[in-house]
Subunit: 139 residues, 3 copies
């Protein structure tokens, strides 16, 4: 049984879902692990990870709209406001989605369904350099 | 340290929470693993996994009602509508719950609490054949 | 490759986020594992786990307010009400956050970001003795 780790850097340019499936699959493939367990971890509190439909881009627009309504940016709504009006909503949106994902690996690939893509969900307006930490255990 | 994998098939007949605890516990037991880490993965974008109270069935009715209100099916609300009015709500409900669960195994069983059951949460009205992929690492 | 397990006891005194980062880090450190995978599991259906900003305490107040609004305690709203008005909201809040967290370990520590803290999110008003089960795999 082997362990592999990697740090993926993702540059974001405002709110939204950014696909990371391709670099994740490439890295898993490079390790040569056939059967194992892949974990992704997002070490930030204002962006998160999610698995979503990878086909129709309007899905991602609907997700953005839904979260703007569910967790509104609204002046005076939050006590924690010194870091900007998008900061507290960012924490809440992170909490409602995921900081980590753990996916089995079979036949050398994470067992994603045909329509499943892995996304970094950026919740801040300003550009950020984000990290996704990858850990793979298997053989 | 050993790895075991399994594909569980679950037939759904409309929206709702379907218990999968029993076949999951049975499979873990068959592997003979005493201490380890169990991961379940749902390779779909319109159903998800959750852990919930397994005793009073009204809990599951309340969950259904809550999600109908939180993520309404509403004509004209979503851009992504070609696959039916329950499709985009299905993606959002999946995102707010879980595509995967990772549970420690001790004394030959996942460490579920007395009232915890594992459920596949179907978000589509039409019947579907769903898969839950199981991965167990341990010895 | 080694496995380590531990049961952490957390006494809660009403609703809110209780930090558990320190005892988790201490336990990981004691195992001597340098690279591995840490899993936390909360074997309850009315409290949950989350990773949140650990600096400004108003973040935790905003989270409390947000969840009171998103999943209201409201007489007559839920069918499942025999265990108290905070019980069904507790199940729903658990479902919208996490029963488990899986975090890679590198250089002897979980790869938490600077601002990430691990919290037990208690959803019941009455004091409870809660458990968080820890599982660490690595070497």
């Amino acid at each position: 049984m082997e362990q592999h780790t990697h740090r993926l850097t993702v540059r974001t340019h405002g709110k939204g879902l950014l696909p990371v499936t391709r670099p994740v699959l490439d890295w898993v493939s490079q390790t040569g692990v056939e059967t194992g367990l892949l974990t992704l971890w997002c070490p930030h509190t204002s962006c998160s990870l999610t698995v979503q439909e990878n086909a129709d881009p309007t899905v991602r627009e609907d997700i953005a709209t839904f979260f703007e309504t569910l967790v509104p940016e609204q002046s005076g709504r939050y006590l924690h406001s010194t870091e900007g009006s998008d900061d507290m909503p960012a924490h809440l949106r992170t909490m409602l989605t995921h900081s980590g994902l753990t996916i089995p690996v079979m036949d050398g690939e994470p067992v994603l369904g045909t329509w499943q893509g892995i996304y970094l969900f950026e919740h801040r307006r300003a550009p950020h350099q984000r990290q996704v930490i990858l850990h793979l255990l298997g053989d």
